[in-house]
């Protein structure tokens, strides 16, 4: 069965609500086992800060190995404006509304991180997506919010987007809520943001009345580039925030300090019974596990800690910079990328508090022993990850953020990013780079582009929440 149209089928609803149509899967295992192979990828492709700049686009990549255009960029949905910096995106509906009759996973919500403009793309035809709605920046600024980041659909017919700044790009950020059907702005999601100032990524789990958000910095701090003076001045994040999902109130701050500098991607277990997850702290380059303790408060431990490394061309030891992390749908493996060092790591997290490194792939970066693929120099290093639903194929792109790319891997500004694939063997705890697969965004129609977040039409490891 084609995964691209999986939402149109009823096969995966063979649970107690089988007569109810909805946009997702009843359990993480149902998505993992019943959805079939990904046939198409949507890839965010910004052109901000490129030598030949132009509007960014959402790229459509053919992932059907039987197709003549397998491993190629087959279509682009170009944005109407320049300067958006397409970054992260999400669906109007996912498994969190599994039992919501009439809803389908049809619309992609595509924010411009820099422009604060939000685009809505109709992806009913997976290979022929088109923009149907644009929310202009001024409409977001009216709520004193800017810099849209993480998009999750949430129960109750809503979409919630983490917003990193106020209307001037300063702190504090917040959360914007949109209507799932007409994409009108409801206003702010949060009723009381308490001690939260900085925002970045978030995950939520209604079963345990929790939302967990992380911290990057004020847009005016991270937009212009990464300056260590700003870290020393305390302008970058070192905490995550626990919110009551039901009351929409901030309830607790977990402050990591030096043990968790710039905590970015937040991934809770997919199993809705679990009350734990992981956050990757980019600058301190460690993985922190957070969990609900017996008294109902949340606690944390560093469970993976990496070291900076000397490089002959650099003055100071360079941190790995963990920029993305991902949990397989069965919650057995954690993957993360070291964007400066140049490797993707695979950890067995079946013992959640004691991750065990099982394999890694080097490709590009400052230390990768592989600096070429298919006779091309690797531009950038492993960054945004996406895993096949069955957990056997890991894909990644090489761009982090236009201004930071231009500081660390300036060749991407002239020649664009790359998209990679590795084959994962969960039964053996092994990860192998697939050297036959490569998508070169340097060849994009209209000129080279960066490549950032990846999604599958039928939902993926970072899109869906099970209540």
């Amino acid at each position: 069965m084609s995964t691209d149209n999986s939402d149109d089928t009823t096969e995966h609803h063979a649970h107690e609500h089988r007569d109810v149509e909805g946009p997702g899967y009843p359990t993480p295992a149902a998505m993992r086992t019943e959805s079939g192979r990904e046939q198409t990828a949507y890839v965010m492709a910004p052109r901000v800060g490129m030598k030949n700049d132009g509007p960014g686009f959402v790229g459509v990549v053919d992932l059907d190995p039987a197709s003549d255009t397998y491993s190629e960029l087959i279509d682009t949905v170009e944005m109407p404006n320049k300067g958006d910096e397409l970054h992260h995106f999400g669906w109007n509906a996912c498994s969190s509304s599994c039992h919501a009759e009439g809803l389908s996973r049809q619309y992609l919500i595509v924010p411009g991180q820099r422009s604060s403009r939000i685009h809505v793309i109709d992806a009913e035809e997976p290979r022929d997506p088109e923009i149907v709605t644009v929310i202009e920046p001024e409409e977001l600024f009216e709520y004193d919010l800017s810099a849209p980041h993480t998009v999750h659909c949430v129960p109750g017919g809503k979409i919630v987007i983490s917003m990193l700044g106020d209307a001037d790009g300063e702190l504090p950020g917040g959360f914007l809520q949109l209507d799932q059907e007409d994409f009108s702005i409801d206003g702010r999601w949060e009723a009381d943001r308490g001690a939260m100032e900085m925002n970045y990524d978030y995950w939520y789990q209604p079963r345990h009345d929790v939302l967990i958000s992380s911290e990057w910095a004020a847009p005016n701090t991270y937009y212009p580039g990464f300056d260590l003076d700003d870290v020393e001045a305390g302008k970058y994040g070192d905490s995550i925030h626990i919110w009551s999902w039901d009351d929409r109130e901030h309830v607790q701050t977990l402050e990591f300090g030096d043990a968790g500098r710039i905590p970015l991607e937040v991934r809770m277990s997919h199993n809705p019974e679990e009350t734990q997850g992981y956050v990757g702290a980019a600058l301190s380059s460690n993985i922190i596990r957070f969990y609900e303790s017996t008294d109902g408060a949340w606690d944390w431990d560093v469970v993976v800690d990496e070291d900076p490394r000397e490089h002959e061309d650099w003055d100071m030891p360079v941190p790995p910079l963990i920029t993305d992390i991902l949990l397989s749908l069965d919650d057995q493996y954690l993957f993360f990328s070291n964007w400066l060092h140049g490797d993707v790591r695979m950890y067995d997290v079946s013992d959640a508090a004691n991750p065990r490194l099982v394999d890694r792939v080097w490709a590009g970066g400052l230390f990768g022993d592989r600096q070429e693929i298919q006779d091309k120099e690797i531009r950038g290093a492993p960054q945004m990850l996406q895993l096949s639903r069955d957990g056997t194929r890991l894909y990644w792109t090489t761009s982090l953020f236009s201004s930071w790319d231009n500081q660390f891997f300036p060749e991407m500004a002239e020649e664009g990013s790359l998209m990679f694939k590795a084959d994962v063997f969960p039964d053996e705890g092994r990860l192998d780079l697939d050297e036959e697969f490569l998508v070169d965004f340097g060849d994009a129609p209209g000129g080279p582009a960066r490549a950032h977040e990846i999604r599958w039409p039928g939902g993926d490891c970072t899109s869906d929440v099970w209540q």
């Binding site: 700049d53 001037d168 030891p317």
Partner: protein, 110 residues
């Protein structure tokens, strides 16, 4: 006073040395004028927060219409400007290019 007295001519110098001259109306930003003239210049947020449009003022004077939040004082003092909020006060010569933002911030650890 002539109605055009406040318009200024801005010469944009690209990394390869190629130059283009645009006319910027009184109070207009250089990005708006460049867009109107169909001359490509880098930009992002359009409110002075992101630094994508960072350029180096070689000659002349500009005024920032809003707070140039993306530039630190040392960068402003060194003559860097933000074209999305900059309006010329005199005729100007300005170096533009996608790489100037990174040149201003530098590369940590290097």
């Amino acid at each position: 006073m002539c109605a055009n007295a406040a318009a200024h001519s801005v010469e944009l110098v690209r990394p390869d040395g190629r130059t283009e001259t645009i006319r910027v109306e009184n109070g207009e930003t250089i990005v708006d004028a460049a867009e109107r003239a169909d001359v490509a210049v880098p930009y992002g947020c359009l409110y002075g927060g992101c630094g994508t449009c960072t350029a180096e003022l070689l000659n002349g004077d500009v005024r920032h219409r809003a707070s140039p939040r993306a530039l630190k004082t040392r960068s402003l003092d060194a003559g860097y400007v933000l074209l999305c909020i900059a309006t010329p006060e005199t005729d100007c010569r300005i170096r533009i290019g996608h790489g100037i933002q990174a040149e201003v911030v530098g590369t940590p650890w290097k």
